[in-house]
């Protein structure tokens, strides 16, 4: 940050900050006066200046989320919504920039917060908003040449039936028809009227990728330090055993050394947000499971928190009961342990220790999944949280059919099972990993000093979770903006300072130990609250009437800060669907820093660096 001013950073409440901004930019900064909305609306012309003031003078150094909303039919404009936080903690300052729908354009904030890079590209791809000043503005999730910007409200997919569920055809009469029947091609495709079949080429999408990189695919020789080497473009992925899914990196190599790295994604873009805006509020809960599919329970919690935030402005809202919150924390922390076991196991895979460490690391995971299956009904896709509560109470006994031993179903008392797991099995498994790996000469020599991410860069790139904390920034949403019963619990925010792969491995061990510490405090709370309601009040509210407004709910997911930006709009008496449902995915935004982290390292280290970020593609591509 060379352009940082030396003026003292202001602290104080959000209101103070907004007053400061309004005094500084009286013409450009206005309060967002719409009912249910907060923050300020900034005029496009001074957006960059306002952002710079926010970062340098008001201390909002961390831009968490930047996303677009299409208000077609409401006020007929597009809007970019930014959530900026202080890394010292506290609530966000929400600011928005509005633009007309045709020729939508907003200045890019990439010079202020480089972390908006992918998020602005996503907004261009899905909403068609241009960002003036963005150096690499091209599609990110869809391929180049795709027709239209699919998240616009007037863009309709091939299987379009109605704007909102439940569809007239399915409810209440239940006429079922296959979507293929009414499509001329019998497929999920739709072509524009002016499709030019003569101009089709097999690899037009690929070509634009390479030309956009300014590389070309030809191999050209050039000199470095007297040795003649070839500059070579290598594709890693989308089918590659070490990319943790269908992720692709286009790497330019000089010999074995990485000159530049371009992440290419969208191979698992399955349109969560478009489908989510057709769904009713509760419909989205099972879809959140499939974002970060290793930690479905914490995805559920984030979405529940966002919608509860909206519900809280309504008349008949009561927060979840204490037992519901305790169960939520139990599930979420178990999920964190599952995720970190998985991450460490597969990081070792990436280092070349093929599968044996991973097998050890995920052995305990099966025990936790048995508990999830007994409680929620499914091993992975739990769909367990509800607005203002959870779906079911903990079962009295765990009788998991996955637990067959000599054809007998094993049968445990739930609390005994949990107690044994939390006080004995999990600490033992964590210690085992620690003992086998931490002092291993090979692990150390492959990871120490590799993939260094300096703290100021970690903040600027909006990285979150273990990646941010391993670079020395003690930022954890559970402490920075506490939710659920975390204020009652005694735990430390794990932090490491070297910012390399080794520290990212160590911090996951630390976090697992902190999670066990939390779980040990949750157990007596569960015992004490036995028999209490698992909802607010006596009755579950499944399909709530959600008041008009916006909300941003965020949780500290195992992979980083998971945020949901939801907007409720329209007739409060009619069918209720989210107007906007955006997922701020930590895996997606953490990847912004990948290119910088890999530069100058060997190609074998790229795989390890990617493994240390710990991404999951369901969330990256959504």
């Amino acid at each position: 940050m060379t352009d940082q001013t030396l003026a003292p950073v202001q602290t104080g409440t959000i209101e103070n900050a907004i007053e400061f901004l309004k005094a500084r930019y009286p013409d450009s900064v206005k309060d967002d006066t719409r009912s249910g909305y907060s923050g300020v609306v900034v005029s496009k012309s001074q957006l960059v200046d306002v952002a710079r003031t926010l970062r340098d003078e008001l201390g909002f150094d961390y831009l968490s989320s930047a996303t677009a909303v299409d208000y077609l039919g409401v006020s007929d404009h597009m809007e970019m919504v930014y959530h900026a936080y202080r890394t010292s903690g506290g609530p966000p300052l929400v600011f928005k920039a509005q633009t007309e729908r045709s020729n939508a354009e907003v200045p890019s904030l990439i010079d202020v917060w480089p972390g908006v890079d992918f998020q602005e590209r996503e907004a261009w791809d899905l909403f068609g908003i241009r960002f003036a000043g963005h150096p690499n503005l091209k599609r990110i999730l869809m391929w180049d040449g795709f027709e239209g910007h699919p998240m616009r409200k007037d863009w309709r997919e091939a299987y379009y039936e109605e704007d909102q569920k439940p569809f007239e055809s399915r409810w209440p009469r239940g006429y079922i028809r296959r979507a293929e029947e009414l499509n001329v091609y019998g497929r999920n495709v739709r072509y524009p009227d002016d499709l030019d079949l003569g101009a089709l080429k097999d690899d037009s999408a690929e070509e634009s990728l390479y030309s956009g990189m300014g590389l070309g695919v030809d191999v050209s020789a050039y000199e470095t330090e007297g040795i003649k080497t070839d500059k070579l473009v290598v594709n890693l992925g989308p089918h590659h055993p070490s990319t943790h899914g269908v992720f692709r990196m286009v790497v330019t190599l000089d010999g074995e050394t990485v000159l530049s790295l371009e992440p290419v994604m969208g191979y698992l873009h399955r349109n969560h947000e478009k489908i989510g805006e057709r769904n009713a509020w509760l419909h989205n809960m099972p879809f959140t499971d499939r974002l970060d599919y290793i930690s479905s329970m914490s995805n559920n919690l984030g979405y529940a928190l966002a919608v509860e935030d909206l519900l809280a402005s309504g008349a008949r809202y009561a927060p979840p009961s204490y037992r519901a919150e305790a169960i939520r924390v139990l599930m979420v922390e178990l999920t964190r342990i599952v995720n970190h076991f998985w991450a460490i196991g597969f990081l070792l895979n990436d280092l070349g220790a093929f599968f044996t460490p991973a097998l050890y690391a995920i052995a305990e995971r099966e025990k936790i999944l048995d508990f999830f299956e007994a409680t929620a009904g499914s091993r992975m896709m739990c769909n367990y949280m509800r607005f203002q509560g959870v779906a079911k109470d903990l079962p009295e006994r765990i009788r998991s059919t996955a637990n067959l031993l000599n054809d007998r179903v094993r049968d445990f008392n739930t609390m005994d099972y949990l107690t044994e797991m939390i006080t004995e099995r999990l600490p033992r498994a964590i210690d085992d990993l620690d003992r086998y790996l931490t002092d291993s000469e090979i692990v150390k020599s492959r990871t120490i000093g590799v993939g260094y991410l300096p703290p100021e860069m970690a903040i600027a790139y909006s990285t979150a979770g273990p990646l941010l904390r391993a670079s020395g920034i003690p930022y954890d949403v559970r402490r920075a903006e506490p939710y659920s019963i975390y204020p009652d619990l005694d735990f430390d925010v794990a932090v490491r300072y070297n910012g390399d792969i080794y520290d990212r491995y160590l911090i996951r061990l630390d976090e697992m130990r902190e999670s066990v510490r939390i779980l040990k405090q949750v157990l007596p709370r569960l015992e004490k609250s036995q028999g209490e309601s698992i909802f607010s009040g006596n009755k579950a509210i499944y399909m709530p009437r959600v008041p008009v407004g916006e909300a941003y709910g965020r949780v500290e997911n195992p992979k980083g800060e998971l945020g949901y930006y939801v907007v409720s709009e329209g007739d409060p008496k009619g069918p209720q669907n989210p107007w906007r449902y955006h997922v701020r995915a930590p895996s997606f935004i953490n990847l912004t820093a990948l290119g910088a982290m890999c530069k100058g390292h060997k190609v074998a280290d790229v795989v390890a660096i990617l493994g240390s970020i710990d991404i999951v593609l369901g969330e990256t591509d959504r």
């Binding site: 028809r177 029947e181 995920i362």
Partner: protein
């Protein structure tokens, strides 16, 4: 080789003396060929989405596909016998998937794991989602679930083994690779304004011409589905006339609509009956 497996291989009318049955097996070529293939079915190390996690769990120590000779996951398609399509197939990803499939040597098999790979699953309506891998590749086994549990996947793998047991070298039409020469590669889809399957090119061209000329669809849509849409539209129009959307929805005046359905259905049945009678009379 264990005694049990050797006895399992006996497949002939020639009697083998009882004392030699643990040492000698007389069998058919098909039998031993199928037996050795299905006992060393190497899957491709290839995960798409959530199901891949369950696939890894299946291969890990608790469920352990090594019991079936399937633990050797090959990262290269050239060494793989089985493609487990584990997750949502997107339009962007189908291009590499078809390439990978074409690179696998025959005999090769495809297992569609989970709802998405079988038919699009919860994401079917998504604009970037292919409604099932079977629109592009021939699928041998479908495993339902979202995601299927490891038990379900193992069940699917056993089903595949049974399928292989039933194939025969004697019948050249049974599977393409027992015929003469290799089978044709699957044409690789093209990413344009939307994904284009080269096998549908003719239909797309016809449709483009008809659109330009301002006439209807190139392919006849099923009458039943069109009927239903018309009825739905009529009901929706009737509902709009009501006081509020919600109230009208639950008490839509549906009698004339129901009559229309019944009449259409009856007419179609009578037609079908007439066709059947004519056919019977010919015979």
């Amino acid at each position: 080789m264990s005694e049990f497996q050797l006895r399992e291989l006996h497949d002939t009318e020639f009697p083998v003396p009882a004392e030699f049955q643990d040492n000698i097996a007389i069998t058919s070529l098909s039998r031993i060929y199928n037996w050795s293939r299905r006992s060393s079915m190497w899957p491709m190390l290839f995960g798409l989405a959530c199901c891949a996690i369950e696939m890894i769990a299946t291969a890990a120590s608790r469920y352990d596909t090594a019991r079936f000779g399937m633990e050797v996951m090959r990262a290269s398609p050239r060494q793989a016998d089985l493609m487990i399509v584990s997750g949502t197939v997107t339009k962007k990803m189908i291009v590499p998937i078809v390439r990978l499939y074409n690179q696998m040597p025959e005999p090769k098999y495809v297992l569609a794991m989970g709802a998405c790979a079988s038919g699009g699953g919860p994401f079917k309506e998504g604009y970037n989602v292919v409604s099932g891998i079977d629109q592009f590749l021939p699928v041998d086994v479908y495993v339902p679930g979202c995601p299927p549990t490891p038990q379900a996947l193992i069940n699917g793998l056993i089903a595949l083994q049974k399928k292989i047991d039933g194939q025969s070298l004697a019948n050249l039409d049974d599977v393409p690779w027992y015929g003469v020469g290799p089978s044709d590669p699957v044409p690789i889809p093209v990413l344009a304004a939307d994904i284009i399957d080269p096998r549908q090119m003719e239909l797309i061209r016809q449709q483009a011409e008809r659109t330009a000329a301002g006439v209807g669809a190139a392919r006849a849509l099923p009458q039943a589905a069109l009927d239903r849409v018309q009825i739905e539209r009529a009901r929706a129009a009737a509902a709009k006339g009501g006081t509020t959307a919600i109230a009208a929805k639950s008490s839509a005046p549906s009698e004339p609509v129901d009559e229309a359905i019944a009449a259409a259905r009856l007419a179609r049945r009578m037609e079908a009956l007439a066709r059947k009678r004519a056919k019977d009379a010919q015979q």
